[in-house]
Symmetry: C2
Subunit: 156 residues, 2 copies
């Protein structure tokens, strides 16, 4: 049974993700941020007033995970949550001034971490790496009907 961990994509992916997370965590700790808030912050910096459901739809994160993350973010003064006026089930998420002020430094930190982590690759290799990761992520997307290369035949 040939299984060499250093040739297993899953094993390596896990390892790499931990390396990135450690690195980024160290860089944003001085900002009072943790890694888990990053995805939500990126969406909210782009457009806030989103509902939790909107965030879940944009990020491949479970609803419960997002609920917990948002709770920590609110506790830490990054967001406030207010009920939607016309639908009491929805909680709209708004950034605080503090969170807005962190956009620049936080993104700088992420860019620096990426640069460092990829510093052993050539420019071409970095492009390949990112492109391959995107392709792998695309592969495991059942939501969208896989686009039919030949066209036509779908089901009778």
């Amino acid at each position: 049974m040939a299984f060499v961990k250093d040739q297993s994509a899953g094993y390596l992916a896990n390892h790499i993700a931990r390396l990135f997370a450690r690195g980024l965590a160290a860089r944003i700790k001085p900002l009072g941020l943790t890694t888990g808030t990053f995805p939500a912050l990126l969406e909210l910096w782009e457009k806030d007033g989103l509902t939790q459901k909107d965030l879940v739809a944009r990020l491949d994160i479970e609803q419960a995970t997002m609920a917990n993350t948002l709770a920590r973010m609110e506790r830490d003064g990054l967001i406030v949550r207010r009920k939607d006026a016309s639908d009491g089930r929805k909680q709209r998420v708004w950034l605080t001034e503090r969170a807005r002020g962190l956009q620049g430094p936080a993104i700088e930190a992420a860019i620096a971490e990426n640069a460092d982590a990829l510093s052993g690759l050539t420019e071409e290799e970095r492009r390949q790496f990112v492109s391959l990761m995107r392709k792998v992520i695309e592969t495991s997307k059942p939501e969208e009907t896989p686009h039919q290369p030949g066209g036509a035949i779908i089901s009778g």
Copy 2:
């Protein structure tokens, strides 16, 4: 501030790792295994009687994380821990029969998950992907003195 998450290696790495973990978790759940035990099991299938410290040295995992993982593994009947005869601080880790019996199916599951996750890539792309991940991991290895390209000059 140009930061596009789908072009950020760290972001993508995190996403990919979660996809692999979800997939593998589903496959090994019927075996009564969880993903966190995998690295330790791979080492122990190779050679058991290792100490916790040995495992930590072989895997890029913190000591406390390993201690917790081993505790769960013992609870679940995958390993037993016995004090080293000549050094009472060391706990040697031994696989149970149950854990030995799981080697085949568990590795099959991992191979299947890798195959599925990479099914959107060509053979050549898969090789590239694995090789690039290895390179990135190598980059963040401070432990080993970076091998001196020119030779000579190290410190006076």
